[in-house]
Amino acid sequence: MTFADLFRLTLPALSAHKTRSALTGLGIAIGIAAVVLLTSIGEGVRHYVLTEFTQFGTHLIAINPGKTTTMGTPIGTIASARPLTLQDAESLAAVRGVEAVVPFVQGNAETKFESRRRRTNIYGVGPEMPRVFQLPVASGRFLPPDDPRTARAFVVLGAKITRELFPGVNPLGQHLRIDNSRFTVIGTMASKGQVLGFDLDDAVYVPAARAQELFNRNGLMEVDVLYREDMETETVAAGIKRLMTARHGQEDFTLTTQEQMLDTLGSILGVLTFAVGALGGISLLVGGVGILTILTITVRERTGEIGLLRALGATHAQVLWLFLAESVILAGLGGAAGLVIGVGGAALLHALAPALPVHTPWYYVALAEVIALSIGLLSGVLPARHAAKMDPVEALRAE
């Protein structure tokens, strides 16, 4: 008996009870549609968050003052913790594998050009920032490699500030006031838009030492390190830790590697997608029970046929497969319908709410169909085995 024969014998059986088959298939269709739709949303969110995070590059290590435990609660940030300094940042350049270092101080202040004013983010950084964070300069140049402690009062403008404070004016060479200090504009940044809630366009970039003066702080908030792609994250992190511990006399700082962050984030979001998908899986389970029920009824209705098949020389296995084929085809068709509904629903959702990230990877679709077929197989096994084990004489008598 070939696959084609199995199909030819099974399809009339399914179409003989159209409503019944359709309803049973619908159970699976709804389950598959739910799984596809929910995992599409979950996967979309994961995709979205991860791209947001990786657009700064992945070979980054952040150093923050204070020691944070793995649980995220800071300990010992009290008296003994020393602030991160510009000298610390400078010295990190010597660690093996480190390519660039950016000190980081952030605050809020009023900027003013002629009569125009605007409160904005002030980022105190170093000359390597465009390289480390992959933020391109639009015009002029970025902060020059001055001695970080005595860096000149230059400022580079975010795209939005350029628009707001210098409409129709070439900002290069102009003087910008931040609070009451005077800065010379030497460049503007290309527009970057929102990244994880930060508007990088609504900001200006000044040397870290200048930002420290503006905000009256003696430490840095963070130091970001870019390392060579061919270096192991652990090696670089260990080098940084060794140097910093030597400088501070204790480990009063925290390293966060981008890799760690992405791993944690990725697995959290992966679990989320899985959980959401499992939720859809419950309706698949219900669909599977539907198939089991219907196939049990079918086997009972066709007891006479089972006897006949055995009389005609069908083996146990052939009878088994004739019924299994029925549940597998039913589940397969239901699954295919569910895929169409699910993928269509995802597309519709995307059209209606473009802000909601939806992403349907093809292997999810393939996997969902495989799951549908397996459910057909599993829920068919019991009734089909029952059919195969029937006594032919008893079965023939049933009609």
Partner: protein, 228 residues
């Protein structure tokens, strides 16, 4: 050749044993035409089912063409059934969803005969049975006689050597029943061993050998002279 020796088949009903067959000895030669008669419940169907390997005796030996077939596994017996036995039932047992041609092709499908060979063989049998113009009809669109002819076509499509018919006319009017018996006798004439269970003495007496059963035993076994 069918050789049954000391065949017993018992059913346990409640705490009692009901003997559907007790100590049946029977030898049927190749090409014989045997009718089995007797009151309802006398064990006729049970005997036919055991000969057809659909049922297993509790005791006794069954040799088919010199081979002990009682020790075969279910699937081996299915193979023997497929190659050597054709069944005709009182209630036709046609699959309502399939056309006449597809019903007849079913044994070929189960045996793994390729589709194009199936078609030629089914067409030939349909023609033999005078059913060519009914090939695509469903059972419900056929008369009782036509249905039984489709069933007979299905029984012989595998070219078996033994044809087992359990009250093949039980569900037909007298005239149609006689047509069906004539058809079966034609198949016997072409070399098949034919066993027919019947209630109708007139039909039963047409067989060359007549068995009478009662209470699970063969109580008479007569050879009649072939009609001149």
């Amino acid at each position: 050749m069918i050789e049954l020796a000391g065949i017993r088949r018992a059913y346990h009903v409640g705490n009692q044993d009901v003997y559907a067959l007790s100590d049946v000895d029977l030898t049927i030669e190749r090409g014989d035409y045997v009718s089995i008669m007797g009151p309802s419940g006398s064990g006729k169907s049970t005997l036919l089912n055991i000969i057809g390997l659909l049922d297993r005796p509790d005791q006794g030996a069954y040799r088919l063409d010199e081979q002990d077939v009682t020790t075969l596994t279910d699937d081996q017996q299915a193979g023997v059934r497929q190659r050597t036995m054709g069944f005709v039932f009182q209630f036709f047992h046609l699959i309502p969803r399939l056309s006449a041609a597809d019903n007849i092709a079913l044994p070929l499908v189960l045996a793994g005969v390729p589709a194009d060979e199936r078609r030629t063989r089914v067409d030939a049998v349909l023609a033999d049975m005078g059913l060519s113009d009914r090939a695509e009809h469903r059972p419900e669109e056929l008369s009782g006689g036509q249905r039984q002819r489709v069933a007979i076509a299905r029984a012989v499509i595998m070219r078996p050597s033994i044809l087992l018919a359990d009250e093949p006319t039980g569900n037909l009017d007298r005239h149609t029943g006689e047509e069906v018996v004539t058809l079966l006798e034609g198949l016997h004439a072409s070399g098949l061993t034919l066993l027919v269970v019947t209630h109708d003495p007139a039909l039963g007496h047409r067989a060359g050998r007549q068995l009478r059963m009662e209470d699970g035993r063969i109580i008479s076994d007569t050879q009649s002279q072939p009609a001149p």
